[in-house]
Every structure is written in structure tokens, then in C-alpha cells.
Amino acid sequence: MNPMERVEAGDIRQDRPRILPGDVVRVHVRVKETSIKEEGRGKTKETERERVQVFEGIVIGLRGAGARATLTVRKVSFGEGVERIFPLHAPTVEKVEVIKHARVRRAKLYYLRERKGRAGRMKEKRVQA
């Protein structure tokens, strides 16, 4: 193991599943919320709480190696395309679930950005573990 791998080894989460482009995943992210409540006479009260948000979509690309790996997840929310990039090994990413696999022929599925509706559907692939 070289020194760089040694440093990163401690940060790599072993509980991450094998993710491939075209997979439909559910990413559980911890988010901090601050709500500001008015208490009259210009007084406000801030309360901070943490909750887990789930982002579900298609993996359109994987990037980087080791502890620096990221995944780009795309979904269409109320007709608007939304993409989020998650650091795979970030402690704020609680869990990544793989729901479906699809047969794809590219490493980066950026062409899905131009597709709408049924044109963006993909053939499901049976798990080959």
C-alpha cells in the first residue's frame, strides 16, 4: 500500500455497494435544517435539526478513485431535471441503495439530459452481483 492509499483507507466506507452507470440508486443524505421562528417584536428563534433526505435517480456518471470518488445522480422532479453529485465516501451520505440496474453502453450517460419521457427509459438488467 502506498502512502496515499494508506491515508485514504481510513476514510473509505466499506459499506458502499458496487455502483455502475445506469443504476437506479437511493442516496440517503444527512441534511441540517435551520428554521427561524418569529417571536414578535423582531425577535427570532433559530432551531437546528438534522434529518435524512432521500435522493432517488439514475447514476449518470462515476468519477475519481479511492476516498475521492463521486457519483452523479439524475432525476426528473416535477418535469425539471435535477442532478446531484455526491462524494461516495462522505460521512454525510448515510447509505446508498441500488434499486435497479440497466443495460448501458457508456460510462457517462450525459445523453439522458437531452431525452424526455419514454426516450430516456432503459432496459433493465438482471443482477449479476
Partner: protein
């Protein structure tokens, strides 16, 4: 107070995660172990310093006789890399002392000196941050330095005028970097932020004065 610095080799950059889950840009440095190979004193050398040698991982074979004899005199195996570090006159250390990463504690503040990456011959915009002119709209002034002085007086270019020329490959010190982690077993030091030079370059890491001492 002993020697406050160590010699290291830049391994490269990565990111680590802090307590709140934030990604921290970090540089991995293989620091030490070092040995003190000479003590320079004001009486003899005109200044106070400790000459450190980075302990060689493999035997140093090709070495000039004069250097070899220096190491024979102090009874230590020869080192490939050595650097001097300034010390106080009353600093407590001896020739032969070993210095390792355990001299640092996470949270320490350090200054790191190294040789920056060479950038070649660069113009005034990249080298000195000049603004330059417009690219279009009839502008005929693009990346040139502009006026470098007046005519009749002083009739010459003032010394130190910023001009195009060789950039980089210079000794640079980056101050106030925070030690994030140490790995004593593997001689690794992880600091927050960037450090001069390419991976594989040698660095001098000095604890900032005023930082709390360990032990």
C-alpha cells in the same frame, strides 16, 4: 525546546473528512525520520542552526569521500537529503538526535518551505497579475506590460520593475498550515491546504513559534 522542524517529502493531495462531515483539502507528506547531523553555533559558524538529515531508506552508495567522512565522524549512516533549520542558542538537542512526526500534534500550526513548480517564461499577466487590455472592441492593447517608465527623467527603467520572465521553481514558504492528522507508524503528516512543489519534492516543515509544545 528542541529542534522545531523536520524534513519531508510531498506525497500528494487528497481530501479528508472533518467532524461535521465537511471535506477538507489535504496534503500528505512523508515526514522524517530525521537525524541531527551537525549543530552550528554562533561562535563557530556565525549563526545558530541544526543540520538535519533525512534518514535514507536504502543504503547510500555513491558518495564523495569528504561527505562520507563527515558521517563517519559522527557515526551515522549517510543521508541523501539534508537541510538546516534555525534554532535558539539555548535549544536542547545533540548531534545524533532523532526527529520524527510525533513532534507534531493535530491542531499544530506549521510553516512549510519547498521549491515551487517551474512555470517557464511567463508574461506579466500570469507572473505579476497585471490586468491587461480588452481583447476586442478595437483595443490594440492585449497582454503587454504597458509603460515601464518616463522618458526625460529618469531616462532609465527603475530597478525591480515587474516584467515578463522566468516564473516558479523558486523557494516558497507557505505559512500557518494546520496539522490535521499524523501517522507515527508510517511517518505521515497530513496538513490542511496546499504545499509548494510537485509530488516527490522535498519540504521543510517548521512548527510555528507560539504553538503549544508537546511534552
Amino acid at each position: 525546546m528542541g529542534v522545531q522542524g523536520i524534513i519531508g517529502r510531498k506525497v500528494g493531495m487528497t481530501q479528508i473528512y472533518g467532524e461535521n462531515g465537511a471535506a477538507i483539502p489535504a496534503t500528505v507528506i512523508e515526514a522524517g525520520p530525521c537525524v541531527v547531523i551537525q549543530r552550528k553555533t554562533a561562535a563557530k559558524d556565525g549563526y545558530e542552526a541544526a543540520k538535519l538529515g533525512l534518514v535514507a531508506k536504502s543504503k547510500v552508495k555513491r558518495i564523495s569521500r569528504s561527505v562520507k567522512q563527515c558521517y563517519e565522524k559522527i557515526g551515522l549512516p549517510p543521508c541523501r537529503v539534508s537541510r538546516e533549520i534555525r534554532v535558539d542558542a539555548d535549544a536542547e538537542f545533540q548531534v545524533g538526535d532523532r526527529i520524527a512526526v510525533d513532534m507534531f500534534t493535530p491542531g499544530d500550526s506549521v510553516n512549510i518551505t519547498g521549491v515551487s513548480k517551474g512555470k517557464g517564461f511567463q508574461g506579466v499577466i500570469r507572473r505579476h497579475g497585471f490586468s491587461g487590455g480588452a481583447k476586442s472592441h478595437g483595443s490594440m492593447f492585449h497582454r503587454a506590460p504597458g509603460s515601464i517608465g518616463a522618458s526625460a527623467y529618469p531616462s532609465r527603467v527603475l530597478k525591480g520593475m515587474k516584467a515578463a520572465g522566468h516564473m516558479g521553481d523558486a523557494r516558497i514558504t507557505v505559512g500557518n498550515l494546520k496539522v490535521e492528522r499524523i501517522d507515527v507508524e508510517n511517518n505521515l503528516l497530513i496538513v490542511r491546504g496546499a504545499v509548494p512543489g510537485a509530488a516527490g519534492g522535498y519540504l521543510i516543515i517548521i512548527r510555528k513559534s507560539g504553538a503549544p509544545l508537546k511534552g
